[in-house]
Structure formats: C-alpha cells, structure tokens
C-alpha cells in the first residue's frame, strides 16, 4: 500500500510518521509537499502532526486553503483513505471532511503525556485488526484537542458509530479524569460517515516501537494496510 505523508511548512511529526510507515510498517511511502499538485498515486494520505502554517490564527485554519488540500478533499470524496493525526485531525475538521471543531484543552495548557484510549468501533478500515473495547496506550501532545460539536451533530455521529476512540481509564472506564482535554463524549478519534477519513488527537506513530514504551499505535497502521 502506498502512503503519502503531507508536509505543511510547520509540520513537525512528518519525519516520525514517515519513519513508522516506511521502516516499521514497511510500506512504500512518499512525501507530498503542500505547494505541489498531484497525489502521485498514493492509496492513503496521512496528515501528520505539527503546526501547519504556524497555527497562530486557529489550528489548521490556514492549511485548508493549501493547493494540495483541495486535491486531498477530492481524493476523500472519491473514497480515498485519509488519516489525520493531531494537527492533521484539526486540518480535517477545518476542511469539513470531519464534523466538529477543537477548543483549547480544559486546563488551558499544552498537554504532552501518555493517555489510554478505548477502541469504540472495530469495524472500520482503521481499526479492524483491533478489538472493540480494547484499551490502547498512546501519547497525546496538543493545545487544542478539546473536541466540540453541537448536540445534533454529536447525536448523528454517535448513531452512525463514527466515534472510533474515546479517552478512557486503563480499565476502559470513561471518567472525567481520563478525559484529559475535556472533549465532548470523550472523543479522541472520529471518522466520516463513509468510513474512509479518520482523525485522532493521540499519536499512534509515537507508540509503534517497543523502545518508545508502547506499540499499541501499530494496530491503526496495520489495519489500514490489511484487507478490510
């Protein structure tokens, strides 16, 4: 499966994501520069973490206007697989490929720490190698990860089982304490209705090697590359 990792000028998890896809998951992986045109035949576009264009206005707000992102939008409309991690998730929200928005974390601080997330929907192309209710230990690193959506949107995404991950305790319980950034419905990861676009705030690429303290994030990449 051919992956394309998008580089915005302020991306900073681009190397990390590229490294995991190429050297850990061992898939052909190429760079997609934000000013270029053409997705060069990739099967999956990954929007990595970072601060796309500095994010001084609002996380991901400028990135949606980049030339390449118009093409990523069309790619997604045709059913192409798109994964947004952290800032990539924020960009997908700004682009309207996923519903909702991000607010500042509830404690108004940047948060970098390992969290545990519960797998809510295993019947997706991003998670079918995992089990429902499985708890993954994966790091987060963001300022704006407090998921927000109006009640009717929340109702809709819950009814469609679009919530893929929720922040939970290590035993899978949903508590206020475990919901570190204050997200509505403890939402950590979300897909579109069609199931080909997913965004998540935690960083699976930081939890894909034993040396880094967790390999739980691999299940996402391994699901993407396996037959669904």
């Amino acid at each position: 499966m051919k992956f394309g990792v998008v580089i915005f000028p302020g991306s900073n998890c681009d190397f990390d994501t590229f490294h995991v896809l190429k050297n850990v998951i061992r898939q052909p992986t190429i760079w997609l520069w934000h000013k270029d045109h053409g997705l060069q035949g990739v099967d999956c576009v990954v929007l990595p973490g970072g601060f796309a264009y500095g994010d001084y206005l609002r996380s991901g707000a400028i990135a949606r206007f980049s030339p390449l992102m118009q093409e990523v939008g069309e790619f997604a409309d045709k059913g192409g697989v798109v994964l947004g991690i952290c800032n990539g998730f924020q960009v997908l929200l700004e682009l309207g490929l996923l519903p909702g928005a991000m607010l500042r974390n509830k404690n108004l601080k940047f948060l970098c720490q390992f969290v545990t997330i519960r797998l809510e929907n295993e019947r997706t192309r991003f998670t079918h190698k995992g089990k429902k209710g499985q708890v993954l230990r994966v790091p987060i690193a963001h300022f704006d990860g407090n998921y927000f959506a109006p009640p009717e949107t929340l109702k809709e995404i819950e009814e469609n089982s679009q919530v893929v991950f929720r922040y939970s305790g290590a035993n899978g319980s949903l508590t206020e304490e475990a919901n570190v950034n204050g997200s509505l419905h403890s939402i950590a990861g979300l897909m579109n209705k069609r199931g080909n676009v997913m965004g998540l705030m935690p960083h699976p690429e930081r939890a894909s090697e034993r040396l880094l303290g967790s390999e739980d994030g691999r299940v996402i990449f391994e699901s993407i590359i396996s037959k669904f």
């Binding site: 302020g10 490294h19 970072g50 601060f51 970098c112 790091p139 040396l211 880094l212």
Partner: protein, 735 residues
Amino acid sequence: MIDQKNLDNHNLTRDEYGLIVKLIGREPNLTELGVFSAMWSEHCSYKSSKFYLKQLPIKGKNVVQGPGENAGIIDIGDGQVIVFKIESHNHPSFIEPFQGSATGVGGILRDIFTMGARPIALLDSLRFGPLASPKNRSVMDGVVSGISSYGNSIGVPTVGGDVYFNDCYSLNPLVNVFCMGIAEKDKIFYAKAEGIGNRVLYVGSKTGRDGIHGATMASQEFGEEIEHKRPNVQVGDPFKEKLLLEACLEVMDKGLIVGIQDMGAAGLTCSSSEMPAKSGTGIEINLDLVPQREEGMTPYEILLSESQERMLIVAKPEKIKEVKDVFAKWDLDAVEIGKVIEGGQMRVGFHGEIVVDIPVSAIVDLCPIYERPYAAAAQPKKEINIREIPIPEDFNKILMNLVASPTIANKEWVFRQYDHMVQTNTILLPGADASVLRIKDSKKALAVTLDGNSLYAHLNPRAGGIIAVAEACRNLACVGARPVGVTNCLNFGNPEKPEVMGQFKEVVEGISEACKAFEIPVTGGNVSFYNETEGVSIYPTPVLGIVGLIKDINKVVTPGFKEEGDAVVLLGENKEELGGSEYLKIQFGREDGIPPAIDLAKEKAVQELCLEAAEAGFLESAHDLSEGGLAVCAAECGFFSGKKIGCELDLNDEWRPDALVFGETQSRILVTAKSSKLKKLLALAGKKGVTAAAIGKVGGKKIRISLKGKALVNVPVEEVYKEWNEAIPRNFTVK
C-alpha cells in the same frame, strides 16, 4: 560629539571609550558607538570572565570544536557528531517571561542549526522564587508557557532539565536553555566569511525595532525602572524559525554556502563583524537592502535590532540563485546585502553614505579583558554545630514536607506542557536522572542532564562547582551513560563587586578541577553576570549541561523500582552531613553549614561501578541520592516504578538517624538487582573498592526505613506520592 551621557547610555566606561578612539584613530560616530557598545558588552565580549575561563579543560580526543564557536562539537563515532550548548535568557525572562523564555529557546536552536546540525533535544534549567508569591507564580507560568510555545511549535522535544526554588530568584529568575543537535562529521558549518568577493546574504525574518540593545541590557543590574525595559525584549515567531531551520539545513546539505552565522545578541552587528574577523577578511554591507518591517529605521536601529529568526550567509556568487530558490521554497526572504572584502574593515552603507567604517578586529578581538579584583570573602561558611540541631521525632512528617518542597516535588506540571516526545527518540521521559535519546539506525543512545545546586555554591563556591559536575556525571552513570562533553551556564551577580568575582573565580576553579578529574572537555557555554535587582544578587548558580554516550541502548537503566523482591543496594558511603541540605532548609528554615564533602576519586569509583554493573546487566534500577537524601530517593524510585511500589530498608550505621535518612552526602547511588545477581554486584563492588551494602528489598505499599531494626520511616507510598505530585500544580489551579 560623544559625551558622558552617550557613554552612560551605552554602558561604556571612559577608559573603554579612550581605547575605541585609539583603535579607530578618531572619534566614533553614534552608530559606531552603538556597535562597540553591543559587541563590548559583557554578554558578547565575556570581558570579565575570559581570564578565569581559560583554566577550563577544553581538549579531548573527541573534541571537534571547543569554545569560541556557536556551539561545541563532540565526535560520537560512525561519522556522526553532536553539537550542543547552553545559554542564559535570564534578564528578558524576568521583564517579559513568555517572550523572554521563548526567544531564549529560539536563540539556542539557531546556535545549533547554524552549524549544520538538526536539533534533537532541548532542556531547561529554571530557577524561581518561592511559589507563595503571586509574582513568582506568574513568572514561572509565563516562562514555562514561553518555552512550551516555541519548542512545541518548532518540533524539537524538550526532554528535561531541572527546576529549583529559592528566595534569591524572586527578583532574578534564571532561564538557562540547552540544545543538542546531531550532524554528519563532514557537514559541519562555521561562521566564516571567506573568499574575497563572495556575497553576503540576509535570510529569514525582516528587521524591526525590537530588542535594540538587548545585549547591553543583559549586562546591567536592574533597578526600579525595569518596566521600561520591556521593549528591549524580542518577540519570537517559532513558525518562522521552523522555516529557517529547514531552509538552512537544505542549503547546507546541498553544499551551497561558505559560512553562516545566526543573528542573536547584537543582531546584524555581531554576525557581520564576527564572520570576517574569524576569516581575516572585511565586509561591506548596504543597509538599504536589509528587509525591514518598519519604516524610517536608522542605521543604528538596523544594526542593533535583535529581531529574531534571522541569519547571515556567505556564498559564492554562482550559488546565489540556488540559495535564493531554497529560501523561496520555504517562503523566506534571502537578500544579497553585501560582499566579503579585503582589508579587515566593516564598512556599512546607508542612503549612499558610509555610516560605519571600523576594523572588525577592533570590535571582535580587541575588547579589553578585565582581571577584576576579587575578595576572598567567598570562604566556606563556618560549620554548624550539628549537636545543636535537635533530632525530630516524626520522620514520616519530614518526608512528607520534603517531597512537597517544590525543588523536590514532581515537575510533571512543567514537563507535560512541553512536547517531549516529538521526533520519537525519547526513551526516558523527563523526571529521571538524565534524559535518554535513541539515535535512529544505531545501537547507541545519548543521555543529557542539567544540574547545579546553588545553595551549595552559595555556602562554598568551589564545592558548588565541583558537586555540580560530579552530580551531573552521576546522573548520567545512573542511566548507564559515560560523559563525553560539558557545556556550562554560569549565573552570577555584578562582577564589578569583588565578592561576586570571588564567587565566580572559585566556582570556575571547582568546575575545572572536577572536569579534569572526570577527563571531560568543556566545549563552550555562557556567562550571565549582573543577575542583581535593587542591589540583591542571586546565589552563584553554575548550571552544568553534560552529555553522555550509551554504547548499547538495550543496557539503559531507569530509576524506577521494577519488581517486588528485588534487592536494594546502596553504592557509596554514608556520612553525617547536613550543611546546605534541603532537610535543614525545610525543617529548620536554615540555609547554612558547609555543603557535603566530596572526594572526586571516590565519586569516580562509585560511578564506574554503576556503569560497569549496568553494562554487565546486573541492575534493575539506579537513582542517585541528592536533595532529600535516601528517603526521597527511595520514594522516587517507587513513584517512577509506575506501580507506586514500596520498599523495606534497614541501615546499619553509627550516624545520626536524620543525617542517614535525609542527609545529602555525595557519591551515593541507590540501585536494585535481581537476588540472583546480588552476589555478582557486591563482588564487583569489592573488586572496585567501593562500599556497597545490601540494605533491603523492593516491595509492599509502604516506604519503610529503619536503623538497626528500629523504624524511622514507615508511610504508605500513595500518601507520599500525593504530596509529591500535587505540590506544584496546587499553586496553579484554575479556579
């Protein structure tokens, strides 16, 4: 005409002015005076410290670059080098905590990537006043947010550092920022302006009026007028710096440039004079071509602006187009503003006139070096009579008080605001003795630590210097790393006061002695004087940044206890020492006595034992004894276990129980080993002539320490953890 008021405004003495006139053969104009003022400031010239710094050991077989460049460079084998340095940003961080610390991060990052290295780790050594004061809380909050905002955005992990609290920092907080990068040995770049006729390019952000005279400001004491200095603080733009980083590394990788220097302190003045001075050439620049973001800037302002995220590049004429293309790709300005000339002059044009025409050597190399008078006042304080100090009854309570002291308490509130995992190399997260980073595609790993106990240095400057080096090396030994290079940040009061100069002299002598004993080279660093406000000086605060190398990443040792039943072994000897301890400070409100004695030969032996035991795979965990002594060390090993596991220890010494449990005697490491490996470990210690005592076992939910069977500490780990964990955040709760 230059009058006394001009000189006062520029912080230059009459004598210095006389020398300037002699060097250039005439009176300087105001712009030239500004150039001299910035370059001859303490911050840029090291005029008060150079004389003493000469004694530091700077040679070693792996040293590629010692002091004098943007950063030091050490060969780590396999064609790779590490590039690292520490710098202070104390003055700006007090005036404007957020921007002050943020631009400190920006500045040290540029020092590293200007040499061709990709930055892989940031660490910060922070010193604040007590958190009871709202002002101190707001300074700490601002400083941490500033570091977080800059480092997180640019994508370099902030992997650790240290934070201390003391009254002496209330009006003078310290922000020392360390950065390390990694480069290929054959792709290192220097601040050179070689090749007559080569072009000088200005790249990065536009120049504004911010930070004019930042270097001069950092070379003065503060009085009540400090609020007016806020415009002297620069404003950082981490996104611009990220672009600059990528663009610079790209032109270097493609071999398009001859030399490069960042515009940090003293801005364009510093880069455009140092580069030719190092190459024996001159430089000609036209200020009309400098990209400016404000109108009507004078040559004085353009030359002395400390606007951030700018670099000066020297490149061959035929490469200019390619260089410009790379910068255009990253949406940055790259403008030709001059060329390298023969003759050693710095010639600056503006609106068709020459506004500066002075020899670069006069600005860079001929600043007077002062051997300032020092007072022998910095003698060790008298030993306290330990018998006069009552031995308290309730050791559990003392342990709770100690872990709640912010200096000892959990710093997670700080570290979790930093992205410490980006780049996916961080093996050992912040909070451990040292931070450990893997090197991708290699078995090796790097360890980094910052350390410096200023209370020790206050009580005995020389001992403070020695212990700072010894403890930093011990931190490295605890994770299984051998020290390879040192950088230091020396924070002091006003060097014109003999007692401050005395402290400085002795601290440097101490650092020098210890580095020689450990055979580790000092590759650079930074001196920050004038940390005085309203006549009150900080304690002498040496901060040592030491980098270590781990040959086999699978042999890294971590501080947390691993499993119930593991044997606990104390490496090193107990003694009866309480001077300068956190225990005396917290329990009795005393900051006196003499700091613990240190025997460098014994220290080295203990560290060598720890390293060999780690390499032989004998150790399950290792953690050094420092502030709060054995009790705090054992408690932390439990916290770091991830399971809040306890231990049961029994001591067999003749010393006072409080000294045994809370004393800070040096050269001690608490390790654990599987019972099957205990014999081997003790045998190795015997062979090395190091005292090692099996003092108990890991296990249970309590921290239990007894002396010859008599219980001293007996308290649930959970309770101690709660105090340790909440001591800092409780000051910052959003209500």
